[in-house]
Symmetry: C2
Subunit: 452 residues, 2 copies
């Protein structure tokens, strides 16, 4: 694995205290800035400010992007507008926008006032797109070429524009009116003859996304086509920006976190575990607990309805937990598989017959196994109950598994059919539904088979 | 979004039928090969073979990598060794290995026999690493430079080695005895003066992984350092291969799928939903259902132990579902948050105090809300039960939430402390534990408060 940093925040503090500028510069040149940022985060504000005034601007700009929002805010507040301007010069526009989106209005104003006119225009453009859209996450720093450029000219342009571009692996070929007409890989330019033109080298089958596309669909395009960067165009196919794969990994992770939260009956929250307030966390969890309370009332009513049966054969009550938890688990097993299948793009609504067919088979097989083992278990461990009671419990278990797996497998697809989020068909909802059905099967079987 | 392909497999079939070679070549030049591969997948084998013999080898090689394993197997089986050799020439070694890992022995032998001696050595090297290790997923096609190379010489080397390299954005600088001493970005080489040497330009703070590192930790390194490619070295720090970010996205997704399966009480299975057999799927699900059957017996015993209480106040039975499902859901809410926090690297064992503190606060707040609303609900909708019974149920609910959230929050951290997988502390296990505790609280409160 990666060798761990052998520098501590204590050591850094000491070097700052002693004003060891040259040593500090060497450290920040040699060690990885992401590791260093974690250490800088722990320093006091005045120490950080000393560092920021001492180190090269491109290094401090990088460190800045890796710090927490709280630290960034403190730093910007202690900067003069000249210092802010120097910092902005070394940041990619999308990083600035990222940061501004979480800052209070006074900081945003302070930063915008310090930005150059050109930067301000770029920032405002990005800020104008709706949250979670391709436009809001794209970068406006890319290399653009024309189809008529020769290889020699293209290389000159790449050298020039490449200083600030997020990537130079791919350049974008635009027409006179700024329409995106092709992409060309640096690799192909380097391997070509100097007199070749970009037109000969460019790929005209361009995969692009629109500014208003959802960031999730951008992530899926990048994943599907295995590309490291995707261009963003407006409705007139004019090139506006690019989105790189590293931003996409974060988006894919957030999406998964959201799915897992939904599956665990939590209203999605955005922040991280440690940074989300108790109030916010309670809010995101209490809703489902209340909904489930209401639905559990319904399940309770079923039990109340069969009070007489319970009074006659008290042993029936002892199996309620088994039947309820088997129903819940069998259902969430099926729904988790289907929800994930949909998320990775492997299952679609049209597969519903295949899902039903598979779940029924798995359910019957699982049901038979559970039936047999449970009957054996009851015969051995509770010899005092009648054979018929054992049969009622075991039969219920089998039927419960079949119904739970069917409901769990089909509900997410149904949600998708109605353009709802499959993950919102969360385990707890399915659990409550199948709990009720399972208890009804249980008591109906008991009443009819035991003649109650 | 991406414009959809307007070509169907029917049209492709017709062009093949009519031997329209030129049209076919144009289509495969112009359209995206990933989209085309999906259409090729639906063609008949003899049609595919005609395509493979007609199109350019680098295009068929790409199409080949995008096909399903079943199709790949069929194709290789119908190829002569000369044809296989031509195909291998155009494939990256890691793609060949990927494919061989899933193939039966006879196909592996056929492919290895057709490979060139050099390729065979590379393939065998990759195949020799344990599954899921960095060595097994790396590519051996990269650009290597020496520190003493001038920029001009480096560019010549890149042009030469770059034809077969997976990436040329980064080149690797190795010493006389093949130790990895630095990395240099193509961008920096292009922007430098021709007389500069690689030593001046290279970054000596190299982030690398070891051949035997787990693929998951490779994914985390790439994510943490926001890099698109990471070098793989052996224990002597000799450069062996590289791993690119696109492979990592797939690994991260597989890992999430595994976590979700574990959280839903499914023993992880590797294949996709539709391709996993009924038997395999049943096997992966039945284990937990059986474990839960045994533990539900325990919960059942608790209820049996309080049969007398249930006979005296039958209304107590009606609330069992509410208490059990609240316990289960509150517990899995907490565990899902903590498991995900660990997975994205945001929570570690040392945060246990923070987690306990937060969960207790959230639990008390949620518990109070549930207590109040439930009491109101019972007073309004079941006026026939006594105030004390209502109080017992509501109090149980509150205590249940507190305990469930604590157990759900702490168990995953405990698992991590004992170097176990936190996701294996799955919802169902936590559910059964808290179910039992909740029922014990319930009946104990009932017995003491109602004087049963």
């Amino acid at each position: 694995m990666v060798e761990m940093m052998d520098i501590t925040s204590q050591q850094l503090s000491e070097l700052i205290e002693l004003r060891q500028v040259r040593n500090l510069r060497t450290i920040f040149d040699e060690y990885n800035l992401i590791d260093l940022a974690e250490i800088v985060e722990q320093l006091q504000l005045k120490e950080i400010l000393f560092l920021f005034k001492t180190l090269k601007k491109d290094i401090t700009a990088q460190i800045f992007t890796y710090l927490t929002y709280e630290k960034k805010q403190e730093i910007i507040q202690s900067f003069t507008s000249v210092e802010i301007m120097a910092m902005l010069d070394n940041l990619y526009t999308d990083d600035i926008v990222d940061f501004l989106e979480e800052m209070p209005a006074n900081i945003v104003k302070q930063v915008l006032n310090s930005a150059s006119a050109e930067q301000r225009a770029d920032i405002n453009l990005l800020l104008s797109y709706p949250e979670y859209s391709a436009g809001s996450i794209m970068s406006t720093d890319f290399v653009e070429l024309e189809a008529t450029d020769t290889v020699a000219r293209a290389i000159r342009k790449i050298k020039q524009q490449g200083k600030t571009a997020e990537t130079i692996s791919v350049s974008y070929v635009i027409s006179q009116n700024r329409e995106l007409v092709g992409t060309v890989r640096l690799r192909d330019i380097l391997l070509a003859e100097t007199e070749d033109t970009i037109e000969d080298l460019m790929d005209v089958d361009v995969i692009s996304v629109k500014t208003h596309d959802d960031q999730e669909s951008v992530a899926h395009v990048i994943k599907r086509y295995d590309i490291t960067v995707v261009p963003v165009v407006n409705d007139e196919n004019r090139l506006i920006g690019i989105i790189t794969v590293d931003d996409i990994i974060d988006i894919l992770e957030d999406e998964v976190t959201e799915d897992i939260q939904k599956m665990a009956a939590i209203m999605p929250i955005e922040g991280s575990y440690l940074k989300t307030s108790v109030k916010e966390m309670t809010k995101s969890r209490i809703t489902w607990l209340l909904v489930l309370m209401v639905s559990a009332t319904f399940t309770g009513t079923i039990i109340s309805g069969y009070e007489d049966a319970l009074l006659l054969i008290p042993a029936l009550a002892a199996s309620i937990p088994l039947i309820m938890s088997t129903a819940g688990n069998a259902g969430s097993q099926a729904s988790a598989m289907v929800i994930r299948g949909i998320a990775v793009g492997e299952l679609s609504v049209s597969d519903y017959l295949k899902v039903i067919f598979k779940e029924v088979q798995v359910a019957i097989l699982s049901g038979l196994v559970l039936f047999a083992i449970n009957w054996l278990r009851l015969m051995i461990f509770t010899p005092e109950t009648s054979m018929t009671v054992d049969l009622v419990i075991s039969l219920t278990l089998m039927l419960t598994v079949v119904i739970s797996k069917l409901v769990g497998g089909v509900l997410p697809l149904l949600a998708m059919f109605f353009k709802q989020d499959p993950a919102a068909m969360a385990a707890p909802l399915i659990t409550t539904m199948v709990d009720a059905v399972a208890l009804m099967i249980y008591f109906n079987l008991a009443v009819s088979m035991l003649g109650l």
